[in-house]
């Protein structure tokens, strides 16, 4: 099976990559938790914020509102598709920039906060990315790395066995598709280590739980059905599951079927969103 081209990110990211739909659905799903995460940063008007990997831009809009009117939030993404989606979703004057995070044209020591969610693990070298983002911080500025699902998500509260098989199947798929080992896939859990390797201090971390249960709102329904059941699972997992498990999964994910999971009164979804924050140290005064 195809692996990522040699000079791309480890998930095959290129300017042509398009996760727009999935990103929009995630931001709609997780808006309360993402806003709570932003609130936890205590942003103030006048601050300069960079959203590194801004995707479809919803979060960039919330960051911009938190620092308005004197401050600004600049969004950067590699994908042409994400940026055009963001342009459509945000006020016209929102600054957006298309560039590679490892080679941005931005001046060093510029930002009070660099916010980067579900992004650094898309690059082949997340440490180099964290260092490059750190270089953009003024001394005392903060790098906030957000990452979904450091713990396995709970989709089928009533069937831990099927969920475990599913997780294994997804790992096997990513191993074949992108050449990633389980260690590689779960490297996203090393957020604290990344911040340490980037030379940041006063590191803290906090996890927000995205918890939804029956009856689901439209955002949760759309995310689970479109992004997970159809986008992440679906036919592509067939080779990685037993026939019986795949059949059961198909029934649970089929809105036409009476077993459709999202109609169950006991449906209960859990996903974590973790925000790790570190501060760029002030230079040591001479003679210390």
């Amino acid at each position: 099976m195809a692996t990522a081209p040699a000079d791309s990110g480890r998930l095959g990211d290129t300017p042509g990559r398009d996760y727009s739909r999935k990103l929009r659905m995630f931001n709609a799903l997780a808006e309360p938790e993402l806003r709570a995460a932003i609130d936890s940063l205590d942003l103030r008007p006048g601050m300069r914020v960079l959203d590194a990997g801004c995707g479809t831009g919803e979060t960039l809009g919330w960051l911009a509102a938190a620092v308005a009117p004197a401050g600004f939030a600049l969004g950067i993404d590699l994908s042409t598709n994400h940026l055009s989606a963001a342009r459509g979703a945000l006020p016209r004057d929102t600054p957006l920039l298309q560039a590679d995070l490892l080679r941005t044209p931005l001046a060093a020591a510029t930002f009070d906060l660099v916010w980067s969610v579900n992004t650094v693990h898309h690059l082949r070298d997340p440490t180099a990315c964290a260092r490059a983002l750190t270089a953009l911080l003024r001394p005392g500025g903060r790098l906030a790395l957000g990452q979904s699902s450091l713990l396995p998500d709970m989709f089928f509260a009533w069937d831990a066995r099927l969920e475990r098989r599913l997780t294994e199947a997804v790992h096997a798929y990513y191993r074949d598709r992108y050449g990633l080992s389980e260690q590689g896939l779960t490297a996203v859990r090393g957020l604290l280590g990344l911040l340490q390797e980037a030379g940041l201090c006063r590191i803290g971390v906090r996890t927000f739980v995205i918890e939804r249960f029956a009856p689901l709102d439209a955002c949760a329904h759309a995310w689970l059905l479109e992004a997970i059941f159809r986008g992440t699972w679906g036919e592509r997992l067939r080779p990685y599951l037993t026939h019986a498990d795949h059949e059961e999964l198909t029934r649970l994910c089929d809105p036409q079927h009476r077993d459709f999971a999202l109609r169950r009164p006991d449906f209960h979804f859990l996903q974590t969103f973790t925000l790790a924050v570190g501060e760029r140290p002030w230079p040591q005064p001479p003679g210390t």
Partner: protein, 259 residues
């Protein structure tokens, strides 16, 4: 600025409305922007001469270019400062201010800001009497491989034939290679290609001519193709250098990730 109603335009916002009002102007502008982006790669430095309100400067910055911008008009620079604020504050756009003499005598930029491409969109060069000294300045602003891309008024545009001033000056164009007519800001100079080629030497040579609608170079006879466009785009290169404007320089191999 080569527009009939230029005299009453005072603020950046009004100017932006004026230059984006006509569909044909928007087409010329987009074609020029596309060409400028093809001739540069993300991360490279670009100098926007006659940047006006900063519409192009911001677009280039959004595409990952580092942009220096200069405009003679402080109202335009004021608008640019607000239009490109986040980019200026994050170090991807820098504004140079001052009158034209100050611009010509300004210190050379730091090496990192020497431009791979100087852009002059929407005919700022037509307001310049002495192009030779401007090209000398352009040479100082560019890297050894740097080039100049200028959108200038075509002296051959058939649409201008209805104006008496065109007929009054046709002989001068043939004989001297240029003529000037009064404009809102300054004299507007219309020049033949040979005049541009003469004025840019020895710092640059006129490498390619594009009709102002697409990014393919004109083929011969050039002047005939230029009768249908109000603007023509001129690419000036350093002696001995040539450019491939057909392939984007920011293709995936240049623009993608870590190695």
């Amino acid at each position: 600025m080569p527009m009939d109603d230029a005299a009453r335009i005072v603020t950046g916002a009004e100017y932006v409305r004026a230059i984006t009002a006509r569909a044909s102007d928007r087409r010329y502008r987009r074609a020029f922007q596309r060409l400028a982006l093809r001739l540069t790669a993300p991360g490279e430095a670009l100098f926007d001469f006659g940047a006006g309100p900063g519409i192009d400067a911001r677009l280039y910055a959004e595409q990952g270019r580092r942009v220096s911008a200069y405009d003679i008009d402080p109202h335009m620079s004021e608008y640019l400062t607000s239009h490109c604020r986040a980019f200026i504050l994050s170090g991807t756009v820098r504004l140079q201010q001052g009158n034209y003499r100050e611009f010509l005598s300004s210190a050379a930029p730091p090496a990192a800001w020497r431009a791979e491409l100087i852009t002059a969109n929407f005919a700022p060069l037509n307001l310049i009497d002495d192009l030779h000294e401007l090209f000398a300045k352009f040479a100082a602003l560019t890297t050894p491989t740097g080039a100049v891309l200028a959108s200038v008024l075509s002296p051959y545009f058939a649409g201008d034939l209805r104006y008496p001033w065109w007929w009054r000056n046709a002989a001068g164009l043939l004989r001297h290679g240029r003529y000037a007519v009064p404009g809102a800001q300054a004299l507007i100079w219309r020049r033949r290609l040979a005049d541009y080629a003469r004025e840019c030497a020895p710092y640059f040579h006129l490498e390619k001519v594009f009709a102002g609608t697409d990014s393919r170079p004109c083929t011969r006879p050039v002047w005939l193709q230029l009768t249908t466009c109000r603007f023509m785009f001129l690419l000036f290169s350093k002696p001995g250098r040539t450019h491939d404007s057909s392939a984007p320089r920011d293709g995936q191999s240049r623009a993608t990730r870590a190695s």
